[in-house]
Amino acid sequence: MPTKIEKDSVSGQETTGHEWDGVKELNTPLPTWWVYTFYASIVFAIVYCVLYPAIPSLSGHTTGLLDYTNRSALVQELDRQNSERAKFIDRIRAASFAQIQQDPELLNFAIAGGRSAFQTNCMQCHGAGGAGSTGFPTLVDDDWLWGGKIEQIHQTIEYGIRNANEKSRATAMPRFGADGLLTPEQVGQVTDYVLSLSGKATATAEGAKIFQEQCAACHQADGKGNQEMGAPNLADGLWLYGGSRDAVYRSIFYARNGSMPAWGERLDEATIKMLTLYVHALGGGK
């Protein structure tokens, strides 16, 4: 297509010099300032490509003169935050729980840090604010499986329950029905006895006898449990796996034996301490 720029006789404006089936187009260029912003953008893009990671290759990309990456920026930011927190974290690591509890500023920091760690690591099972759900204990009440004193909470979080850690809290309730230790009928009788402890059923002499023979060793003769063994209090009307007759029957027939990870393997010492203080302050701490 030949280029033949000519002046349009009607508007006095120049044409682009091209013709399509007799139709010519007037040349209406962009305003100059607009064109210059394009040039400025091109210059910016070149400078950017030289300074920052930009051009992909088969096995990676150009790194740019500034050696900038989002990841290194994040690492720097985290380092900065950690160094700001370090003075508190160091004090928390060095202090005993009693010392932290007597220092309002440090305690505030620890509980806030504990709340944050709780929301990342614990909330999935124990619920927001430690509300708990079936099979996962409520942490705001005063009913503890392994003890609600601060050292006991600390040990539970650090080493966990029924896991591979050698210091883990580890006891096991027998599968009374499934392993044939009791007949289904006997399981039913002891279920009624257990429910009678909180006034939910009428006990039979057979049920009481089986309870004393089979259960009292861990759950105590009065059914109030033993935190040394992680044996729950059966008389307080609070049920981890549900308080219906069916749920209690299943608990005895199959046993439950819930477990929890040893958080000491995943979190650092100061975080575990802050978590402990947070859980202790939720309302159930002794």
Binding site: G129, G132, T138, V140, D141, D142, D236, G237, A281, G283
Partner: protein
């Protein structure tokens, strides 16, 4: 555009105000010294508030979220006092305008004050009106370059001082001034000094009367506040016309008092001719009054051909009627004064009733309630108590409308010691025996008492029990 369509913009004709002396010029200088003095010196006032609190008398601490005004400390939730002052300022301007015309514009507006200061500097360096005009029209010489550079340098120095003083209202002045010069002040400090330096230099050095004529909304609606009883700058047309040159010693018959010396135009900071009557550009500074009196004295005619007067009195003067007394008490001034009084009273009442303690209570919603091993029902609350006084206080918290409830604080026991000027957060557990627990939600009220047993704050919340 082909150039044939008319331009929508008027080209600015540069104003070269001439120096003038006289009564109103003296009033303006006094206002300038007073207002700039207040502006630059107030941040340096010290006020001892004891340890831990800033010793700057007036400080708006944005980081610490406190406004310090001598012994008054405002918290962010009391920002309505600022709103109140803005309303007072606006209504005060309405009242002043309906009484005295644009006295704010002419004497007190920062644009006027700083422009006046910049013009003074300009006059000291480049000379008066005629000299400046000659300098601008003349060829570019070494002396011209030196004078222009000196002028702009002086302007920028004043502008920087202005920006600096502004920053000092928000940060501690003595330590920041050191940090600024050592290059250690925060980025915000440098940014705002830079910003206000730029605006001061541009608005007072270059834009000047264009700010008043085109940018400022205030002149647009001031016209609605003026009436024929407002005291404004007037040219007594009936006395001045017909104007014209007058030869000394000849008769004044058939000749108005105005000798058309154009002094009133030359001194005008907005470059208008007051003899054209009321104009939107007139800022009511009264410099033309001084200029005209200078001339009237020279030609031996009575003073005040241009004078402060009301339009009503001008009319009676013109018609030779007995001069009516000025009536400052009119419907609109009474209305503005009443508004002013109401807003001021509301603010005063709000100020004296403002509490020195705030209480906020947030109930835990996960879980809504918890059942304890003995059957009791417990709700947990986060309680925040603000101690707005400047000394440590001890508080107790109690519950209203919930018989038999026990309050337990996590990790502390009442009385709760709260440091001065902070918000302290506590976790409170409220426990009720199962039999007393409500089915569903029951409204309750938290009450905070200070060390003297005085009830200082309340906050309503609810207690939730299992539905039965």
């Amino acid at each position: 555009m082909d150039g044939s369509s008319p331009s929508l913009y008027a080209t600015r004709i540069k104003v070269y105000p001439r120096a003038v002396s006289g009564k109103w010029r003296r009033v303006k200088w006094s206002a300038l010294v007073l207002l700039l003095g207040i502006y630059y010196l107030v941040p340096w006032l010290r006020w001892n508030r004891g340890p831990g609190a800033p010793d700057q008398a007036i400080l708006i601490d944005l980081d610490g979220r406190r406004g310090w005004f001598f012994d008054i400390v405002l918290w962010p939730q009391e920002v309505y006092f600022v709103t109140g002052f803005l309303v007072l300022g606006a209504v005060g301007l309405f009242l002043a305008t309906s009484l005295f015309g644009r006295v704010w514009c002419g004497f007190a507006c920062p644009q006027t004050v700083w422009t006046d200061l910049f013009m003074l500097v300009e006059r000291l360096i480049e000379g008066d009106r005629n000299e400046r005009m000659r300098l601008d029209q003349g060829p570019f010489t070494m002396s011209k370059a030196v004078r222009k550079t000196a002028k702009h340098a002086a302007w920028i120095a004043i502008a920087a001082a202005t920006g600096g003083a502004w920053v000092f209202y928000y940060v501690d002045a003595p330590s920041t001034v050191r940090a600024i010069f050592q290059g250690e002040a925060s980025l915000e400090v440098y940014f705002f000094i830079g910003l206000l330096t730029a605006t001061t230099y541009t608005l007072a050095g270059w834009a000047r009367e264009q700010v008043c004529t085109y940018m400022c909304p205030w002149p647009r609606f001031q016209a609605a506040m003026l009436d024929e009883q407002s005291v404004i700058v007037t040219y007594q047309k009936w006395r001045g016309e017909p104007r014209g040159k007058h030869k000394a010693g000849t008769t004044w018959d058939g000749h108005g008092d105005c000798v058309d010396c154009r002094l009133c135009v030359n001194v005008c900071p907005t470059g208008i001719d007051i003899r054209d009557g009321q104009q939107i550009e007139c800022i009511g500074c009264g410099l033309c009054v001084d200029a005209c009196n200078e001339t009237m004295g020279k030609v031996g005619r009575p003073a005040d051909l241009i004078r402060w007067d009301t339009l009503a009195r001008q009319q009676s003067r013109e018609q030779g009627k007995p001069l009516a007394a000025w009536t400052p008490v009119r419907a609109r001034t009474v209305l503005y004064a009443a508004l002013l009084a109401v807003v001021a009273a509301a603010m005063a009442i709000a100020f004296f009733l403002r509490s020195d303690t705030d209480l906020a209570v947030q109930r835990d919603r996960s879980p809504n309630f918890v059942r304890l091993s003995n059957g009791d029902i417990r709700n947990a609350y986060t309680v925040k108590i603000s101690n707005k006084q400047q000394h440590e206080r001890h508080f107790t918290v109690e519950l209203r409308d919930l018989a038999g409830a026990t309050l337990t604080f996590t990790n502390t026991t009442p009385p709760l010691a709260i440091h001065p000027d902070i918000v302290a957060t506590f976790r409170v557990l409220v426990t009720l025996p199962a039999a007393a627990a409500p089915s569903g939600s029951q409204p309750i009220e938290f009450v905070v008492r200070d060390g003297t047993g005085r009830e200082t704050a309340t906050h309503s919340s609810v207690f939730i029990g299992p539905s039965r």
